[in-house]
Symmetry: C2
């Protein structure tokens, strides 16, 4: 029975048009589609044995794939856009991620013109491999607390890079452990015994001839991480520097220059430049979140349509588990979230352009807001995605626990996104700080901008009450928006009021930080809802496409409204009757989405190779494939397992006393 | 600096007394302590290289440990209690878990006296190794849908065991894949073409001489599962039966007998017997939950006291992250949950005795309630524990992502508890069904019993309002209890009312199932809170011990009240002002627990071996140990990695064109 074929026939919209919307443009779709298929059809990129390999083999195979990908990129003369898509579809975390994603951007962002001209051509050709060495054993979140020192030596015109303590060992940088030849090392600049703060330095780690660490340098891999294949394809590393000397010109000096005399000179490049990079990195993380979540949702949705359990009547087929309302209530909000994060990611992309242009025009007015907003969205989307992947795994019952479902590895490789580039709680506290500041300025000249501009209507939002009276009223964008804006405003204002009772504001902030985080979450959820609604204000071509997106947007919003109804009720934005109506509406939205669910995940255009999941395969032919795959486990190399003679037989024969164990 | 020593000095209670409370009795404590130390001090049980092994080595090593554990058990003439504790502290999922935990109990529960006399002595000596083969590729939750057949053959007085379809392949049973010689296979009994439902059959799988599968039997391992070591020490297996013949006497016939003539005779043993086993298995799962959660909490708590980040003043030490209120707000409710689950597990243990006695007295009146309550508590505690372990991992920042933190593997090995022995959502639906039935009988003769007896006060609970006026009022057990009872009652009653509007009750149940699950959760949370409060009514000796437990109980309850304030507000049990007071009280409880946090996790009495975590080690000497451990990864066997010459060098030297990749 072609279960999924039948599902596809039920769809009420044009899936090809939706693919374009998901991809962002026809161009994006075409490049992605081409690169995805290129990777999928090339046996050199197979990944189905990844979870069976021990660490060394696994890592060696990653080195092979990285080299092979680069070879193909060069052979096919791929554009930068195509190359980065190709690497993306290879779908194996590797040192190249850091080289392209952190090392190159650090030089671009923090290097002078001269430095860029020296280093970038080497990096672009991969004549050197670079990584980004910031975190230490003792300091991650608190970058200002880093202990590695870079001391200027007047005599030799060099910096002496040194790890003075055990906790100052660099620890975590990806690509550092085994692959990189160079690193941007963040260290405390010291000139004439003066602490000049943390700056980046280009340090050569290994000989370009034999790959051995240079004198004074100790490097290694920090060991196994979560998951089987997972992130273990990456050589996150440890680095100790013992008075390693580098030329003065290796300090990245775009913002601060150290002269031959050891004087520090602030350049006229604005310090705020870092914001640009931050917005860039974080918009990429949000885009990744929507992608990772869409993979998990695609797997769980397809399998939920294939899996049948209970409800057979008169010997007929059982019920598809996707028809259970509990399954829908767990799955469809995640489907909606994948779309919501996609669109907010698209908007962040725009924001990055906007920020860049403003920086060029020396307009810094929107930067703090852009910074807070990207911090918050990074936190919100990565947390929701990590949790969502695991929920999708559970939605697949027992079979979701097999690596062949693809979900365990997807989870293991995804979760650190909640920690790196800013611990999610630390980020929300930054958002909260910004919100409190915004509230404190509400009466003043300074009007709230960007994603906080709704707070300009604080008076209305503090006292408005939702006027929804029937379930359908909750479909109105204005009803949703007002409820979310009112809730976010009231939570921020309530925190500000409580804070004002403390004589020491920092103490107050610390004491109330759990509440502040909740206010920050409310604000971030509002942003996602707003951007989804704004997207729907655009023209969206394609039969039925817009209707589907409207349903998903409403599911996203009303699911949040239900899950966080405590916020909405406690702040008096809605009544419990209205909350209940929203919930009724949510249920009927599920029914509306149900016949379109398979097509909505098809629209992600994930190849079977990229999904890496038997449960999620396009043809839905789950059971024969699961059965086949099982036999490939090395444990099935022999019928009688290794160890039988030594350990099982003596047990059964009651001969353990003399056995060597 | 002996950070944790200082923390221990701050504690305001006697940790040795708390250890007894945690263990349940002095006897339990002593046995556990002795067995834990026995395992920890024996190099034969080392587990620190587990995550580095490939599957075959990993599995072979598990076989060794299982045999070695048995050898020690025999040598030391350990009692059953001691033996099971020893296996527990070996802390490696293995075929023996199923042998002792499912195979033996199945024979005890479903075998006749005669069958027990035949099989149990063999099993007790491990002359045979058994597993529990119920789930199939196509059927897990819906046991009644199993497809494997056991057809009675009149001529030979045998059953013919057969897998008629691909989806009827047994799939998942632990110990089946490689180790077991026997299985209890659940199959559809067919006599004279009549379907007689699902029953258990003892099937020999492998020869006792050479361990080869017997004729007609195909067996293998189903492949890699979540995590690295994780559950991959277990040989979850696939089994196909091709007309395999077994004697009639191998059907487990305690409840239903098949005679030589192929007649089915119901025995006078009550069918409800299964409930006894179910309560037993589930109370064990709840006890496991508290143990797994306590491990994660112990690791995160100790590391949070060691880890310092930000907040250094005048060059002094930074703030311990455990002092951040956001950290406390994530961590302390989990600490409280570990204790809460421990005590509800203790109570379930009592319930099992009670149920057993009633069964013997042919009193079935409390069984449905006991069944619903254990189903609900299994679901609630395993979900909270799985989520809690991952939260603890995140609480450790980047270092939590290393396998050496112990947390990734703890998570990976724990999560299937949400799926096996009843999918958690399916279980909550069963609870909901029972609640709705209870509500429908409220006016009648049938009074609600056991954990639903609060519903007897439905009239009061439907209209009462909390009278808390100050934050401290929320410390009163009566205030907490009434709020939780009122909320649970109102949610069940509201569902029942909505259901009554459907002409077809089953349709209504399906449509409203998401709401029903929420009502079930509310009921289960009430049970946990109630049992914790009841525990505190007992005499609890030891300096300061009871005070600490009271604080934890209040944290557990008020944290839930805050997290689910939407329920409490929507049902009008409390006002938003009261919700806010509860939250204030919660914050001050955190401050109260803070100085005791380390001692409260010490009270779990986990050895460093059992914890298997560098971040959680007793002496808090985290950084040097992390650093040491890293170098043991096989990837660090050589400074220049395997694959450098083939893949890195050609890349750097721009010689990929001619490289073999
Ligand atoms: C897979 C992976 C890859 C990585 N790659 C790189 C890389 O390439 N280069 C690199 O330099 N680094 C890398 N890192 C390191 C990463 O950036 C850090 O782990 C991250 O910044 C978190 O910092 P931390 O580990 O110090 O967490 P911590 O700050 O120690 O967090 C521990 C706990 O303390 C809490 N906390 C900390 N400060 C506060 C506060 N002020 N208020 C309230 N709570 C607080 C946190 O919320 C958390 O719960 C990587 C990490 C991982 C896991
Ligand atoms: C590690 C592990 C060890 C195991 N060990 C054993 C063993 O030793 N022996 C053995 O026999 N089995 C074993 N199992 C199998 C286990 O018992 C089943 O996986 C479990 O019963 C869940 O069933 P399922 O996989 O069919 O899930 P499914 O029922 O297929 O669940 C899939 C989804 O459908 C939903 N769903 C299903 N029915 C309904 C419904 N009526 N209403 C609403 N939603 C529904 C579920 O909530 C879930 O989201 C093991 C499984 C694992 C993961
Ligand atoms: Ca492995």
């Amino acid at each position: 029975m072609d279960q999924l074929g039948e599902e596809r026939r039920k769809a009420q919209f044009d899936v090809d048009d939706m693919k374009i919307v998901w991809a962002g443009s026809r161009h994006n779709f075409e490049v992605s589609d081409r690169m995805a298929k290129l990777v999928a059809s090339d046996p050199g990129f197979r990944k189905d044995t990844r979870t069976m390999l021990a660490r060394k083999e696994l890592f060696k195979n990653t080195l092979r794939k990285a080299a092979y990908a680069w070879k193909r990129i060069v052979e096919l003369r791929l554009s930068e856009e195509e190359a980065s898509k190709l690497r993306f579809y290879v779908d194996e975390t590797a040192f190249t991620d850091l080289h392209w994603g952190m090392f190159v951007p650090a030089i671009k962002g923090q290097g002078t013109e001269e430095q860029q001209q020296k280093w970038l051509p080497l990096a672009y050709k991969m004549k050197i491999i670079g990584c980004y060495a910031q975190t230490e054993l003792g300091h991650g979140s608190n970058v200002q607390g880093l202990e590695t020192t870079a001391t200027f030596d007047h005599q030799t015109d060099e910096f002496v890079m040194h790890s003075p303590t055990l906790t100052s060992s660099k620890w975590w940088p990806g690509g550092l452990g085994k692959a990189s030849t160079h690193a941007v090392v963040y260290a405390r600049l010291i000139t004439d015994d003066q602490d000049q703060g943390i700056h980046g330095f280009i340090v050569q780690l290994r000989s370009l001839e034999d790959h051995l660490p240079l004198p004074g340098i100790t490097i290694g891999d920090i060991g196994m991480k979560f998951g089987n294949g997972g992130y273990n394809t990456m050589d996150n590393g440890v680095l100790r520097l013992d008075h390693v000397r580098i030329p003065r010109s290796h300090m990245l000096m775009r913002v601060l220059q150290v002269t031959r005399e050891g004087k520090c000179i602030q350049s006229d490049v604005p310090r705020q430049l870092v914001y640009g990079t931050m917005v860039y990195v974080r918009q990429a993380i949000v885009a990744d979140a929507s992608c990772a979540l869409s993979r998990a949702v695609c797997i769980a949705t397809r399998y939920s349509a294939v899996r049948r359990q209970f409800g057979s009547q008169n010997g007929g087929p059982e019920t598809q588990v996707i028809d259970y309302k509990t399954q829908q209530n767990r799955l469809f909000p995640l489907l909606a979230s994948a779309y919501a994060f996609r669109f907010v990611g698209e908007w962040l992309n725009w924001l990055y352009t906007d920020v860049t242009q403003r920086l060029q025009a020396n307009d810094f007015s929107t930067l703090p807001e852009a910074h807070a907003c990207t911090a918050g969205l990074k936190s919100l989307t990565t947390t929701a995605t990590a949790d969502g992947i695991e929920e999708c795994r559970k939605l697949c019952g027992g079979h979701g626990y097999l690596c062949s479902s693809g979900l365990p590895e997807l989870f293991a490789v995804y979760v650190p996104a909640c920690t790196y580039e800013g611990d999610n709680t630390v980020l929300l506290l930054q958002v909260a700080r910004f919100l409190i500041k915004t509230v404190s300025q509400l009466g003043s000249e300074k009007k709230p901008v960007g994603t906080t501009s709704y707070m300009g209507r604080v008076e209305h939002l503090m006292q408005c009450r939702s006027d929804t009276q029937r379930a359908e009223d909750w479909l109105k964008p204005s009803a949703i928006l007002e409820a979310f804006e009112a809730r976010a405003t009231r939570m921020s204002v309530a925190c500000a009021q409580k804070l004002s009772k403390f004589s020491n504001p920092e103490e107050g902030f610390a004491e109330l930080s759990a509440d502040l985080v909740e206010a920050a979450v409310a604000h971030c959820q509002l942003i996602v809802v707003t951007k989804f609604l704004e997207k729907l204000q655009q023209e969206i071509p394609g039969k039925g496409v817009k209707q589907q997106l409207e349903a998903l947007c409403n599911i996203y919003a009303l699911f949040l409204l239900h899950k966080y109804q405590g916020d909405f009720l406690a702040t008096g934005c809605i009544t419990s009757k209205q909350a209940s109506l929203a919930n009724d509406q949510l249920r009927s939205l599920y029914s509306q989405v149900r016949p379109n669910a398979i097509a909505l995940v098809d629209a992600f255009n994930h190849t079977d190779h990229f999904l890496g999941s038997i449960l999620g395969c396009y043809d839905g032919n789950v059971y024969p494939k699961l059965y086949e795959a099982a036999w490939k486990d090395p444990l099935n190399d022999s019928v009688v397992p290794d160890g039988y003679h030594e350990y099982i037989r003596p047990l059964l024969k009651q001969e353990l006393r003399t056995a060597r164990l």
